[in-house]
């Protein structure tokens, strides 16, 4: 990094006052790298269309690199319009000829198979996810992959119970779903998209993110292995224009997108008036609110997890910390101490807490916003730590003295950067927390139960975590208010986005 000009003297270079309790070098962890031998990455990947890997008609390919080492991992097909067209046609054929008519009970069995196969090959997926995306192996191993399997397992059970989910509404599938997913949870987002779509009887064309295509392609291999009928799921790799071609395709009935608010708006515009169904899961700027009576040590862990989980590449990250004024001095001291113990580095190391930033582009965006925080007068703090010489890394960062108008308090940074603000009364906390165009998530930390429920009712956010943060489960709906998008993924509510119902007059 090193390009950041510092206007304030405190922080980065000076160890915290309580630095004495921080483990110094005698207590350093020995390297504990996960073996990458379990993964066999091919030199070259085609597109997964109609159950087979095929060469792209675009004749274009692009490299996918490991953000922690910058080594080229593989070369991946860059799907053009003609390729997207082929994939949609394959999905349409599979929908009309096999999948739509297949009884729910039988669809369920394929989804159960996928869940089991993911569990069986969990380590392989975890290592590949970490290699291609840069997230710590302990997260891909303990969160991404198990949750992805759980999503398939959960929605498998719905496939033959849709009439019970929506009594009297005669649910039926929509047709072909075009799904565009982000790079922060590549396999998990694929699972969030594919599992409910298939359970409801739709077929899918999935467009993984440009920087993280490999686990979706490994998932495609799994789909072959479990004998999922050809064309039910197709994977077209590529960049933004591939995604744009997919959502704009006239034979796509349903568009599901997870990613930035700007792209979400562009997608909504591009399909306006088409009658396509749309769900959007977009950006966030969540407030994590700490009251003076909060269980302080738990809260500190929740704050750390809230912003440094997955390097802060999390749409629901707790990126604005709202602290009740009396608590501030103690909390800042504890946060600085905790920051000092975070292990930043090789994502494949089982001890690593904060891995690599997903791409050079994202690193640049984080650096630009952090610079704006310094320029606008907030006080920066970064722990002492050595970043690897190669790859894209950024130190865990705190900003103190942040005001509501600062860009770092308003814009989604999508990196390991926490902005600290203060409040006095619960009313003020609600006011500040809601003072954003986003509304994806929020956190509340207090021992007072009535205050939790009072706050939860007033926070304009789709997910409210009380005395916890960043918890996910396939049975629990996830999605935003306001410019964080619409529609829910997960749970009973996640089915609705993939079904049409009896319409017209009467009580539908």
């Amino acid at each position: 990094m090193g390009t950041i000009r510092k206007r304030t003297s405190s922080g980065a270079s000076a160890p915290s006052k309580r630095g004495a309790i921080v483990p110094a070098s005698p207590f350093a962890y020995a390297p504990a790298p996960e073996s990458r031998g379990i993964v066999k990455i091919k030199d070259r990947y085609g597109l997964f269309i109609g159950g087979r890997f095929v060469e792209p008609r675009s004749k274009r390919h692009f490299e996918t690199i490991s953000p922690s080492t910058e080594e080229v991992l593989s070369v991946v097909a860059d799907a053009g319009e003609e390729d997207v067209d082929r994939a949609v046609a394959a999905a349409r054929t599979a929908y009309a000829k096999t999948w739509r008519a297949l009884p729910g009970r039988e669809r369920a069995k394929y989804l159960y198979r996928i869940a089991r196969a993911l569990q069986e090959r969990a380590r392989e997926f975890a290592v590949l996810e970490t290699l291609d995306g840069g997230k710590p192996i302990k997260e891909s191993r303990d969160v991404d992959v198990p949750l992805a399997a759980a999503h398939f397992f959960y929605y498998a059970g719905w496939a033959d119970k849709l009439d019970w989910a929506f009594p009297n509404r005669r649910p039926r599938p929509l047709g072909v779903a075009g799904q565009v997913i982000p790079w922060n949870f590549p396999l998990l987002m694929a699972a969030w998209k594919i599992a409910p779509a298939l359970a409801c009887g739709n077929t899918v064309v999935l467009k993984p993110a440009e920087t993280t295509p490999l686990t979706a392609l490994l998932l495609a291999e799994v789909l072959q292995e479990v004998d999922l009928p050809p064309g039910v799921v197709n994977v077209v790799t590529g960049a933004g224009r591939t995604g744009a071609a997919l959502v704009a395709h006239p034979d796509v009935n349903k568009v599901a997108f997870t990613g930035s608010t700007d792209v979400g708006k562009a997608i909504a515009r591009s399909i306006a008036g088409s009658g396509k169904r749309l769900t959007l899961e977009l950006g966030g700027k969540a407030a994590n609110i700490l009251f003076s009576d909060a269980p302080i040590d738990q809260a500190v862990e929740g704050v750390i997890n809230g912003i440094f989980f997955n390097q802060g590449h999390v749409c629901c990250a707790g990126s604005r910390l709202l602290v009740q004024e009396p608590l501030l001095p103690v909390l800042i001291a504890k946060l600085k101490d905790r920051l000092q113990t975070l292990r930043v580095g090789d994502p494949l190391d089982k001890n690593t807490d904060v891995g690599a930033i997903n791409s050079r582009m994202q690193l640049g965006k984080i650096e630009e916003l952090v610079q704006s925080g310094i320029d606008e007068g907030a006080e920066i703090y970064q722990p002492e730590c050595t970043l690897p010489a190669k790859g894209f890394f950024f130190k865990p960062t705190l900003f103190l003295g942040v005001s509501q108008s600062h860009r770092i308090a308003r814009e989604e940074i999508f990196g390991p950067v926490l902005s600290v603000l203060t409040f006095r009364t619960p009313e003020e906390a609600v006011e500040k927390a809601n003072n954003t165009a986003y509304g994806l998530s929020a956190g509340i930390w207090t021992e007072k139960g009535s205050r939790i429920l009072w706050m939860a009712q007033r926070l304009r956010a789709g997910v409210v975590w009380a005395n916890t943060f960043n918890r996910f489960d396939p049975s629990s709906p996830f999605g935003g208010y306001k410019e964080s998008g619409f529609g829910r993924e997960g749970g009973l509510h996640g089915l609705e986005a993939y079904l049409a119902f009896e319409q017209g007059a009467g009580r539908g």
Binding site: R269, G273, L280, T468, R471, Y481, G485, G491, H493, G504
Partner: protein, 280 residues
């Protein structure tokens, strides 16, 4: 029935904004005609400024309306049905003048539908909410909450029933509304506003504008403080542009799928999920 020889008092049809009945600040009006082309009345032709005022008043009313207990909102909405029943003659006449073929039946259906939706205030959470059996020591529930300020472009037909079918499900959950009445058949909407004004519905919860869709819909769709737009009454040729403008602040775009359904209510809601750990 007026006595012979008595000159009848005619009504001025005005806007309904923040509980008051202003004329358009623009000073404009437009003629409302019946099927034969005879002028029935001059309706206010709302301007962009009137629309902004209406949205501001809807936003101002949101907090108190959404924070009322569901039981209280249910009673207030039920009271509207009581008053509708009491104004039968006037509504039947206006539905008939607006071209409704069976005014009494349409009014019956409108009142019954209003009552049906009023009863959902304290039941929609049961049917549409969930408790989520997550794989961990957490208590997690999901409930519907109002999305905020809703813009409703009412359909032309049926003049009263069509409006009631869109407005009632929007405000049941605690949303506040800005209604663009039917351009050609706005009279029952204005009279409904008079009913709302004399019921216990707080000022600003429902605002009713009359005017030209071509002038008002784009501003409603593009307004940054409107959370959802019901496009049921937006003409086909305006749909794509309306949805494009709605994307500017990620508005929820809603349209009628059925006459009576709790899903018509949740089309205007957000699902909120709350997690809390369980531990001794």
């Amino acid at each position: 029935m007026a006595s012979a020889g008595r000159v009848r008092i005619r009504k001025t049809y005005k806007l309904f904004v923040g509980g008051a009945f202003p004329r358009s600040e623009s000073g404009r009006a437009y003629p409302v005609k019946d099927a034969r082309g005879d002028v029935l009345a001059q309706a206010a032709r709302a301007s962009r400024k009137d629309l902004r005022d209406a949205i501001r008043s809807a936003r101002g009313a949101f907090r108190s309306w959404s924070e009322k207990t569901a039981y209280n909102r249910g009673q207030i909405l039920y009271r509207v049905a009581e008053l509708l029943e009491g104004r039968r003659a006037q509504f039947e006449e206006e539905i008939a003048r607006s071209g409704g073929r069976k005014p009494a039946r349409e009014l019956d259906a409108a009142i019954d539908r209003w009552v049906w939706y009023a009863g959902w205030c304290d039941k929609v959470h049961h049917v549409m909410g969930t408790v989520n059996p997550v794989a961990g020591p957490y208590f997690v529930f999901t409930i519907p909450e109002p999305t905020g300020v809703v813009g409703i472009v009412a359909p032309d037909e049926p003049a009263l029933l069509g409006l009631v079918s869109r407005l009632a499900p929007a405000i049941v959950s605690g949303n506040t509304a800005v209604v663009l009445a039917s351009e050609t058949k706005p009279l029952p909407a204005v009279t409904l506003a008079e009913v709302l004004a004399t019921s216990d519905v707080p000022p600003g919860v429902v605002n009713v504008l009359t005017g030209l869709r071509s002038e008002l819909v784009p501003h409603l769709a593009g307004h940054m403080d409107v959370n959802a737009i019901d496009v049921t009454g937006v003409p086909r040729e305006m749909r794509a542009d309306t949805e494009k403008l709605a994307a500017e602040n990620v508005k929820r775009v809603v349209f009628a799928k059925s006459d009576e359904s709790p899903y018509e209510i949740t089309a205007f809601t957000e699902m909120k999920t709350v997690w809390h750990p369980m531990g001794a």
